[in-house]
C-alpha cells in the first residue's frame, strides 16, 4: 500500500469533529501558511508540487491560480466544485463525508493564496446529508477562530459557506456552476471571458475540485517538492480512485500515481480482482465520459507496455487505443456485461443532463439515445452504427461546454472497440435479447 496523504486518518473515530481532527495534525497548514508564508509563497509551493486538477481535465492547479486577475478593489472568489455527478465517481463524497475539516482547511489555505475573502462550496443537490456534515464542521471552525475575521491574528478574514445545487450534472461545469450559484438557470456561459477574469458576480473567480483543494493541505505541510516526489513524471502526488463495477472489493482508494492498472485491479491492497471468478471484459478508467477500453488494452498499452495509473499512461495511444484518467471513476465490466446496453445507459444520462442551450448537444444527445435504445432492444439496423459514429463526430467540439464531448466520447469508443458486439445486436436480434455477447476477440494487429 502506498502513502496516503488525504485519507490517512479516515478511519480514526470522530475524525469529523474539530478536536479529533486537530489532534491528528489538522489545521497545521493554516497555521503555517498564515503565520509564516506569503500568498505568493503558497502559490509557489502549489506550482512546485505539480498538482493537476482532480476534477477530470487535469489542468495544473498552480497555473490556474496564477491566471487569476487581480484588479484593485474587486473581490475575488474561490469556489469548490463539489457537484460530483459523473457516473462512476464518488471520491469527493467519501472525502467530505469522512473528513470534512480537510476540505475546509484546504479552502482556507487556498483562499489565502488567492486573496479571496469569501469562498463557497457548491455541493451536489443529492448530497444533502453531507451539507449538514460540512455546515457542522464549518460552525466548529468559526468557533475555534479558523474562519471569520482576523484568522489566528494574521489579519486575514475569510468566510466560507456551503451552497447546495438543484441536482443537475451540468452545474459541475464551472461557468454553469457560477450561474447556478448566482441563482440563475445553470446554463454554461460562453468563453471567453474565463472565470479567472469574470466569474462569480462578474469578479475574478477560481473553481477547483474538492480533491484538488484538499491536496493543498499536504502540499503546504510537507512542501511542494516533497509532494512532487510521489508519482511519475507530470502526474504527481496521490489520487483518489473510486472503483466500482464487477470487482471483489470496490470502493474509494488513495493511490500513488504510477502504480500499474494491473496492480490496482488485481492487487491485494486494492480491488482484488474481478468478482465471482469472472474475466475482465472492459474498463472505463475515469468516469463515464472517458473512452471505454477493451480487456486487451486495460493493463497493457497498444505498444505492449504496462499501463500505469497516470494521466499520461492512461491516455497513451490517444483515443485510438487509450483513454483518460478523468475524475478517477474506475468502472470495471466482467464478461457478462453488455456493452451496447451500457453505452445506451451512458447516452441516456447525457441526453437527460444536457442543458438544452446549444443545438448539437440538445438534439444530438437525444438522437444518440434513441438510436442506441433501438439497437439495444433489437430494433436496430447496420446503418444505425455508422449513423451513431457520424452524429458523435458532429457533436464533438461544436458545443459551448464539454458536455457535448463527454456525451460523444463513450459512444465513439464503444463503437470503435466493440463494433462486433453492436453488429451482433443487429444480426442476431432475438438472440441478443436473451443472452450477452460475452468477451470480444483481440484484434490480430494488437496481439
Amino acid at each position: 500500500m502506498g502513502r496516503r496523504l488525504l485519507l490517512e486518518h479516515d478511519n480514526v473515530a470522530g475524525i469529523e469533529t474539530f478536536d479529533v481532527y486537530r489532534k491528528n495534525g489538522g489545521y497545521r497548514s493554516v497555521e503555517k501558511a498564515l503565520k509564516s508564508m506569503s500568498p505568493e509563497l503558497v502559490l509557489e509551493e502549489v506550482q512546485k508540487s505539480g498538482l493537476r486538477g482532480r476534477g477530470g481535465a487535469g489542468f495544473p492547479t498552480g497555473m490556474k491560480w496564477s491566471f487569476l486577475a487581480k484588479p484593485e478593489g474587486v473581490p475575488r472568489y474561490l469556489l469548490c466544485n463539489a457537484d460530483e455527478s459523473e457516473p462512476g465517481t464518488f471520491k469527493d463524497r467519501y472525502l467530505m463525508e469522512k473528513i470534512p475539516h480537510l476540505l475546509i482547511e484546504g479552502m482556507i489555505v487556498s483562499s489565502f493564496a488567492l486573496g479571496a475573502n469569501q469562498s463557497y462550496i457548491y455541493i451536489r443537490g443529492e448530497y444533502m446529508w453531507i451539507l449538514d456534515i460540512l455546515e457542522k464542521a464549518i460552525a466548529e471552525a468559526y468557533d475555534k477562530g479558523f474562519l471569520g475575521k482576523n484568522i489566528l491574528g494574521s489579519g486575514f478574514d475569510h468566510d466560507l459557506s456551503v451552497a447546495p445545487g438543484g441536482g443537475a450534472y451540468i452545474c459541475g461545469e464551472e461557468t454553469a456552476l457560477i450561474e447556478s450559484l448566482e441563482g440563475k438557470r445553470g446554463n454554461p456561459r460562453m468563453k471567453p471571458p474565463f472565470p479567472a477574469v469574470k466569474g462569480l458576480y462578474g469578479c475574478p473567480t477560481v473553481v477547483n475540485n474538492v480533491e484538488s483543494i484538499a491536496a493543498v493541505v499536504p502540499i503546504i505541510n510537507d512542501g511542494g517538492e516533497e509532494y512532487a516526489k510521489i508519482g511519475l513524471g507530470k502526474s504527481t502526488g496521490t489520487k483518489l480512485i473510486s472503483a466500482c463495477g464487477n470487482l471483489v472489493r470496490p470502493g474509494v482508494y488513495e493511490i500513488e500515481m504510477g502504480i500499474t492498472v494491473e496492480e490496482f485491479i488485481y492487487g491485494d491492497d486494492y480491488c482484488r480482482g474481478i468478482a465471482n471468478g469472472k474475466k475482465l471484459k472492459a474498463c472505463v478508467p475515469g468516469g463515464s465520459s472517458v473512452p471505454i477500453l477493451p480487456h486487451y488494452l486495460v493493463t497493457k498499452t497498444a505498444a505492449g507496455e504496462d499501463r500505469l495509473m497516470t494521466y499520461e499512461s492512461l491516455a497513451d495511444g490517444g483515443f485510438a487505443s487509450g483513454s483518460m484518467l478523468g475524475s478517477g471513476g474506475f468502472i470495471v465490466f466482467d464478461e457478462d456485461q453488455c456493452i451496447v446496453r451500457n453505452t445506451w445507459n451512458f447516452a441516456r444520462f447525457y441526453a437527460h443532463e444536457s442543458c438544452g442551450q446549444c443545438s448539437p448537444c440538445r438534439e444530438g444527445t437525444g438522437w444518440m439515445e434513441k438510436v442506441l435504445h433501438r439497437l439495444e432492444h433489437g430494433q436496430g439496423n447496420l446503418r444505425d452504427i455508422d449513423l451513431l459514429a457520424e452524429i458523435n463526430k458532429k457533436i464533438e467540439g461544436n458545443t459551448i461546454c464539454p458536455l457535448g464531448d463527454a456525451a460523444a466520447w463513450p459512444v465513439a469508443a464503444a463503437i470503435r472497440h466493440f463494433r462486433d458486439e453492436f453488429e451482433w445486436h443487429v444480426n442476431e436480434r432475438e438472440e441478443s435479447q436473451k443472452r450477452n455477447y460475452g468477451l470480444i476477440r483481440e484484434p490480430q494487429s494488437i496481439a
Partner: protein, 319 residues
Amino acid sequence: MIKVTIDDVEVEVAEGTTILNAARMIGGDVVPPAMCYYSKLPDTGGKCRTCLVEVAAGSTKDPRPMPKLVVSCSTPVQDGMVVKNKTSERVHENRGAVVEFLLINHPLDCPVCDQVGECHLQDLGFEHGAEKTRYEEERRTFDPIDIGNKIKLHMNRCILCYRCVAVANQLTDKRVHGVLHRGEHAEISTYIESAVENDFSGNMIDVCPVGALTDKTFRFKSRVWFLKPMEAECECTKCSGKVVVWQFGNEIYRVTARKDRYGEVEDQDGKAGWICNDCRFDKKDLSDWNIIGPRTIDRHSVISQGNYESPRTSIKKVK
C-alpha cells in the same frame, strides 16, 4: 483599427468587433448565417452554432490556427486573423450537421406556418440542409400553451435561440416567460400559464427566427409574399412609430418593425427601432398611418428561389 481577412477579403474593423460583424461589414455570401445572435440584443448568441467558422490563423502575433471551429458571433477578431467561412470544407460540413440537428425535431409544417418566406430556418435548410432526413424516431412535440390573445406560441417549431427571452429581459419591465426543463425537453413557457402582456412584448415575434412566435392578429390571413410592404409612420408616445405595414389592397394585414437584410430591426433616430404593441396589433386602419412609400425587402430568402419564371431550374434544385 485592426485588419482581418475573411474568405480572402481583407477588412479593417475596430478592436473588439466579432468575426460575424466584421463579415457583415464585407457583406454578401461571406456572412455566416446566425439564428440566435441578434446585434440589437446584447448577450445573445453562441447557442445555435450555425455561425461556426474556421480560424486559419489566430493573429499576426500568434498565427497558429484554432483547433476547433469557433462561433463567429461571439469571438472577437484579432489583428491579422485569417477566417474561412464559405471557403472551408470543414465549416460547410459542420454547418450542415447543425442544420440537421435543428431540423430533426422541427415539424416541417411549412405549408401551414405563417413564417414561411421570412423563416431563417427555411433559408438555412435550403442552403445547407440535406434532401433527406436520417432521423427515424418520432418527432418531439409539446403541449400547446396559451400566452395571451396577441401572440401565438408554437413550441414544436422553436429552435431555442433565447432571443425572445432577451427581448423580455431587455425591452419589457418584467419577464414572465423563459426556458423550462432541459436538454431535449427544454421549452419556452410561462411557469404558471399566464399571458405575456407588455407594451413591447410583440417584439418577440419580430426577433423569432422561426414560426414559434407569430402574430395572432395576422394568423392564417395571408402569405407574406401576397402582401405589399409599405413604410409608414405615426405619432406614438411609446415608440418611434416607424414601421412597415403589410397591405392587401387598402387593407392593412399586419404591422412589423423595419428589418434589415439579416432580419434585425433597423435603427430609427439613433436607437433600435422596436415598436410597441399598440402600433403592432391595434392600428390596422389606413387612417392610423402616414404611408411613406414602398419598402424594399431583401430577396435573399427561399421565397425568391421558387421563381415561377423558370420552373425547370427550381425543380432541379429540389431534386
